[in-house]
Symmetry: C3
Subunit: 276 residues, 3 copies
């Protein structure tokens, strides 16, 4: 039985998530519904893409991902379904899926054309669930939609590389639960441009000349535990999604705040790498 | 196998929700436990009823809903179970269920009389789970309780209709995750009193003369995308629960706030409809 | 099929929890993954132990608990797995498990020695899932690790008992979702030292001479409902985890705040019991 995941900006206070799950189980008793996130900032296309891109790869082939962000259908916001990397994605053609397909070429893309029996305000309660259960039962995309060749492109704010190829001008694309600041500079772009040269990363007035692989590499374990003062140390590292991240080692979010607050870094702020 | 849902004010930080799920699986290995919400404002009877009423309808017949809000048993707060609309509800007789049964007549109502082996502080960990698993296994309500004819009535703040039948005086009953302001004026009362006449809706000093069916109906799609200024537009619409709602189109909650904050509308504030 | 639970400080906004669940289902299709909490204060060892200790007991024998708090592996933070009370716990040797094993002797303890094929930043995505699925399939701990005799001891701030044995000096160890203040004074220590004597509990400048069994014991049900003024009453009781707790009866958290805010009691503040 296929897994059906949910990624929405519904929050978990209201009845919406419960209503969606109830509808799925009503349609397909043996479904396995898994939450990816319901805490997406309302209508945030880039945040949805970041979260889904980093979560979906861990799921088994055949998993069906329903995206309930900006899913009110309009002439400009059509319901689509794609097959990519062996997994299915159902959402509106609002750019979220293009941020996923720009890395991996989709195997199939359809505009969903099945009618909505009850005219739901949000596609997720009607068409999306119908399509998800159709796929879960082994149905084909062609049956519920019309093949399309392109979807709405959103160019993610890509890092800019100067003509001398010694500088990457990136920016903040995500702040995580720990207050860590994630940039759009991927490990592969960093390696490709850097070619092993020395570098300096600048984020506001903070400078970093090393990129760690793990957070706790900033700790000197030869110093006795009670003499260490590592908590709150600033560091740059490639995070588990392979993006350059500015973090504070074990910063206490509830008291002093994470990297975002303490270093004053916000969504879209510049992060620069210079190679020497 | 029946689904067992949970609607509580426990939050998701503490061990309570985990403890309840563990107990259910301990009693009935093959149970399917689904969260409706654990973010109900502590002890809020009306919020629980609003969330549950709008979620339960989507679940399949036979679903069992456990309500963990105000569930400390006392002489005045007895544990009850009802069968309504083909689904089961287990909670305390504190008014939540009367807000659901005032729309649909229950098929059966019992006061739960089975003993609580371990004297749990909250009925949910003891009696409620025992009853839910009993029903899930195909058991009858009569076996675990004593039939009752009435439950504690709470009159939901109903909208007032003036004697000339040209005015509905309603109020705010819920603020959702997007900051949208939900009134107690249902689409059916609106149609019944309005009879297709022109109208004006007043919420504080804001006026609306149209009720939309979808949020994006405020958008003029003939205007080029980069010229549009629809975000943040005020609108009245019937929401997915069929109540009159005051909303802002795609308002950014994290920066400027939703309708509740921007229009200064709080729980219980008046919302009025005048027909001409 | 065994249940696999998750207790983490990941929050529910990011992709982390979804990634972990996806990986488990990828490894073991028929797994049953249950959230205990993802809202642990980042890196809080004692909070994790409190939540897990009070949740795990309700789960069936054979349940596997994965702990994703402070799970970045280092020379000082080794991955371990223990069998205790018929259930399995997988985490790092950071003290969390010693706070659970100091009550019940573990049946088996191993240091996890299986290699991590993909060098994950956090053990939870690699080794922990591998081990959990191995156990869920009926595998033995000896196969994935090396038996150990001791784990890192963290002495939980235990209440201090004076030499006259007429005073317990405890402290606040947890604040729950309702703002209730939980101390480290267990019902059993209270009974053992108190031996039925009269007592006075002091928390800041508040005094209590009675410990309730249920919150609503403060209500005098002989007084007519509309004359009662019980909401917000201060009380001491033994909570469902059997610890002495200072609470306010049905305090409205959203408006006036719970016991923590209103009585000014914070994590680690002293709570004292004097017996006469």
């Amino acid at each position: 039985m296929s897994i059906i995941t949910l990624t929405t900006d519904f929050g978990t206070k209201d009845h919406f998530v419960g209503a969606v799950k109830g509808s799925i189980y009503n349609e397909l008793e043996e479904a396995k519904v898994i939450d990816i996130s319901h805490q997406i900032t309302p209508f945030s296309i880039t945040q949805t893409a970041y979260v889904l891109k980093n979560a979906y790869k861990n799921f088994p082939k055949g998993t069906i991902h329903i995206i309930g962000v900006d899913s009110e259908i309009s002439v400009e916001n059509k319901p689509i379904a794609i097959l990519l990397d062996g997994q299915y994605f159902i959402g509106c053609d609002n750019g979220i899926l293009s941020l996923i397909t720009n890395e991996i070429r989709p195997e199939k893309m359809v505009e969903i054309t099945i009618p909505d029996p009850e005219e739901y305000q949000f596609a997720i309660l009607g068409k999306f669930i119908k399509v998800a259960c159709h796929i879960a039962r082994g149905g084909m995309l062609e049956v519920i939609g019309m093949q399309i060749d392109s979807i709405k492109e959103i160019v993610e704010i890509q890092p800019f590389i100067n003509s001398e190829k010694n500088q990457i001008l990136g920016s903040v694309i995500y702040i995580d639960n720990f207050g860590n600041v994630v940039s759009n500079i991927s490990k592969s772009v960093f390696s490709e441009i850097g070619k092993g040269r020395d570098f300096e990363i600048v984020a506001r007035n903070y400078r970093f000349t090393k990129v760690y692989k793990r957070y706790n590499e900033v700790v000197d374990y030869t110093i006795p535990t009670d003499k260490r003062q590592d908590d709150g140390k600033r560091l740059a590292l490639f995070n588990s999604a392979s993006f350059l991240e500015i973090a504070l080692y074990r910063s206490n979010l509830k008291t002093v705040g994470g990297a975002s607050v303490l270093l004053g870094l916000k969504y879209r702020d510049p992060i620069t790498v210079k190679f020497f």
